[in-house]
Symmetry: D2
Subunit: 343 residues, 4 copies
């Protein structure tokens, strides 16, 4: 942390800042005078509140943080890629993982049809919402426990591990008893009690980015899970809120390479919820894979016009088939060996 003094700050003010810093055990202030102004480097174990404290002192122009506030999720803490295992699927390696299924579990027939289809196209994890966070209280909000039971049944029948959302601390244990991976939705991305609760389980967590979370806030949300002792976290870019009204959200593909740089955790992309439009799902999935994502999570539905939830963004089985083929092609094209010998 660096304290930048105002031009013309007095020696007394500078000394007072230094003393304030050193009044905290284990902290030291190092002066560095310039032509125009003095800066004071703070050395030691910095706590989050220190910035506010120092910024209000007389003569201080600005306090600049120079270390990241997240720790356990950083490359500096753990240089090697974390691999997250969900059933037999391994997320975080060279092979991108496809997660797919209906937005919401609506019925046994629907779920089984989706599971069969997505498995045959190479998906490794079945998605499906039993508890649905909905902006309006008047929308369909999921089948609840009955939906979880159907997911468990689909896992048994098709051998696919399942990922599903948990919305409330009270439900964590129950959802964890059915699911292979717990999803934290974008609207709960800063529901800190919920993050802590899944951090106490030993189930893998799919942590969606809050649609207005910065990378830093997203990694701090992961930090809540990791600091509970659960290091099986997969980060999922799902679109951020911007001024553009045409797409539901703006998918931030740069999140893929940036998160891979900052953190050892795997990062995947949700092209369905980010765009809100099935026509954009294939190009965005391909973009995600080309940018290096460890996987994607996609909504499919045999008959999207009657879907109870987000039908506009679901791929039909045919479209999903086409997309899967293209994903394989892009993925193979970028395998290290191939790149070294481009025709």
């Amino acid at each position: 942390m660096i304290v930048v003094m105002k031009r013309g700050s007095t020696p007394e003010q500078i000394e007072a800042v230094k003393q304030r810093i050193e009044s905290h055990e284990g902290l030291q202030g190092h002066l560095s005078g310039g032509v125009e102004r003095t800066v004071i480097g703070v050395v030691g174990q910095i706590f989050p509140e220190l910035k506010d404290e120092l910024e209000r002192l007389e003569g201080v122009a600005e306090v600049v943080r120079i270390s990241k506030p997240y720790k356990l999720s950083t490359r500096e803490f753990r240089p090697h890629d974390t691999m997250v295992k969900v059933g037999d699927a391994l997320i975080g390696g060279a092979e991108p993982v496809m997660m797919a299924g209906p937005c919401a579990v609506e019925s046994e027939d629907l779920l089984m049809a989706c599971a069969e289809q997505v498995k045959s196209e190479g998906a490794k994890i079945l998605r499906g919402g039993a508890f649905k966070p909905r902006t309006s209280p008047y929308s369909f909000r999921g089948m609840g426990v009955q939906g979880l039971k159907l997911l468990a049944k689909a896992r048994e029948k098709y051998g696919l591990p399942v990922v599903t959302e948990v919305m409330s601390t009270e439900d964590v244990g129950m959802v964890a008893s059915y699911a292979d991976m717990l999803q934290i939705g974008t609207r709960n991305a800063q529901n800190f009690n919920l993050l802590e609760a899944v951090g106490k389980t030993r189930k893998p967590v799919l942590l969606k980015r809050g649609f207005s979370s910065s990378y830093e806030e997203w990694l701090l949300a992961a930090e809540y899970v990791l600091s509970g002792g659960n290091n099986q976290v997969v980060l999922c870019e799902r679109g951020i809120r911007t001024f553009e009204p045409f797409t539901r959200f703006t998918v931030d593909i740069s999140a893929v390479p940036v998160i891979k740089k900052l953190s050892h955790l795997p990062v995947i992309v949700d092209p369905s919820h980010s765009t809100g439009s099935w026509e954009l799902v294939t190009p965005i999935s391909l973009a995600a894979i080309a940018a290096g994502a460890h996987g994607i999570i996609v909504d499919v539905h045999p008959n999207p016009t009657v879907a109870k939830c987000d039908g506009a963004q679901a791929l039909t089985f045919d479209k999903f088939h086409d997309m899967s083929a293209k994903i394989k092609a892009v993925s193979m094209a970028l395998k290290p060996a191939k790149v070294k010998q481009p025709a």
Copy 2:
């Protein structure tokens, strides 16, 4: 709801859309042919999923919603202003209500000093956080139940009703047993389980706007509370996330007149958390009152440099005194009688 057909859509496509609409009990489709394209008005009880359903049909260019998805919070549902009573304070009338206190309850001494001070300046409600949502798990997260007990003690001593945040469905009953008003924070603005839980109590609710919620989403969040049977909801603008990095958030003063137009619920402003800077608290408070806000909620602290939470934005007692005087002056200046006879 209006279905806009593409130019050149066929009579068969138009008929198919009409039939699909009318396949839902109680819905009718009214054709209206133009020079360039056909539009179909949908009449009847529209459900949220209908838009997605119709948008995927052949020949459809766009589906446009023309009624608001929120109901109980609208002026159309209830034309007259709702008044919310918290202890003796009445929010929603001609007199703006000041809520003030420390960001977090840190100690009994601190809380009592604040309570005494804010009461003497005319505040009607004491604020103070016992459970603090913090972006980083390594920040101070509040005194918990002990903080609630101190708030109750301050109420008894100073006769001020108290508002405090509840972060988890499990805690709603407990917090409600101490507090006079339950606050839902910005990061829980779309924690739908929590909204439902406070909707089942009969305590007044202070519902902060999600920092990326549109007005519509904010009113739909209120709808979760209202549809639970609790109509004592006060909306609080607390800044939205924008590209501007200088202020912590961008306070959206237009929210005040817009919400007053759309809804019968009272609307107040939080100048402290929106700006993140004590220097901006007074001007933004005055702006809020001038724009017609039903009140403000402000952080105060006798010694902000040692505050355990958000010290940068807290007003000292002196500054709070100055601000209170100015608020009274602006408020009086805009009383109907005075305006009619400007010098």
Copy 3:
């Protein structure tokens, strides 16, 4: 400027950074070793490209700017408030200045009616667009020179100085020959050639904030004008682009106190173009004045439903009358003397 080295950067890397800094004449690098990492303070006349240069060197984690890139517009450069004189109007003092008139000059009758009305309500400057920047090439784009002539005629008849927009470097001389103040619109806020061109005139400039300009970019735009030798610049907050679709833009009232803190230039607010809705103009004007703005600029029209440009946001004469009375009341209520003795 501070160079933060990565943890584990080598002494050779640190030395290389220091040498690179000192390879530029007049720059010095000051090392400051911490427990965790080394930081290097850069002392001397820093040029904008240095950050990029140093950030690419081996072992560098981050380069942090600690001084502002704008100079002539800062309080540090000129501590006292700049007053801008337009005709007899003085902008930047204790008395807020009202600028008002039609969005576009449409006809002589319209302009004269508006001029008469706004003058009688206390406006000091007449606004009116002759060259209109329009998002669509198919919209009405102003009367051009003929509009300028009408503005000059209105000035003569009513004794009001006029402000009008200039859109092109080629037009600067011509517009300046008619207008008392040159307006740079939001869409030209980073049209650097145009900024330079008005910087070479000696006419006062009304510099609207780009709807996506940060405060820093806005002040740098002013810097283009000031560095040309023209220090008669008034900054105008006119709404920024956010995710909220209800209002045309989100007016950022915090810009008023922030700009007053950072800069000596006067700052006013445009409640018409920022909100896009006449119903919001009065509350936002009052908010601006209460927050300390040096003035407002408002669209008025005797019959807004037939306005050729932005009719939705124009105040009728009646509404303008009401608003003017309220502005006076708020302004008087906040005069220093009154505040010191609140009833």
Copy 4:
């Protein structure tokens, strides 16, 4: 256009709206009564100001536009893809086109070295700025005419057509006399005079998206060029402004498939200016190609640490070589034939 009346609007109000519509020659209003409210469809040649006009009438709740305001750039106007020819390069076909070169022309040696390198890697167009729009007046602003001459020299020597930015209406003729393609930068994306000026030339135009322009505004900017008679326009996504501070802008990859859906004009991506970081250039370029972009435009520099402009984002020659190979691989993988027979 659809006029939605308020619930409870009177027959007189409805009639008045209808009459107002029909007072404009060639417009008709079609009533459509619902259970809850009346809507009036407007049929005929709608002009942009009509929305504002109708919205202020008594009893009107909302006016909803249902046709797009842009015309010449739409798929409806021209269903087939436009191909833009720049020298021998053809943009808009199956083969993505690479444009590359230094951010700014700094010297003859630099430019020639870049031209040789990018040509050998398969780039079809040489980029290089002679006039540089810079946020600060104190930054390097380009070599001007001398830079244009060097670009022309590089074209002769290496047979690469050149694209360079024009910033001012006065310079259009001069820049067009040296360049093969005129670039309109993001900060001039709504400089309507400049757009008109390049629309009057017959040079291909590279139109960057304004960093806060919606797709609609971007296409309306293109409309200014097209309506001048110049239909050789290539659209370039270059990142939009969001709340995320880590990247300079947020590149919006969805723009690629959306623009291809809405418009017949080619669309490319600038991974350098959008991210501001060389480390992100390769993944974002690959994402763009995978999403279907017709090309990319990239900054390269033999020694980025001494670049006079945006060194942080330039690729070294080595990195550019690696990227080019990967782009070819992804591009080939997505060729129709290959996809039909995935292993």
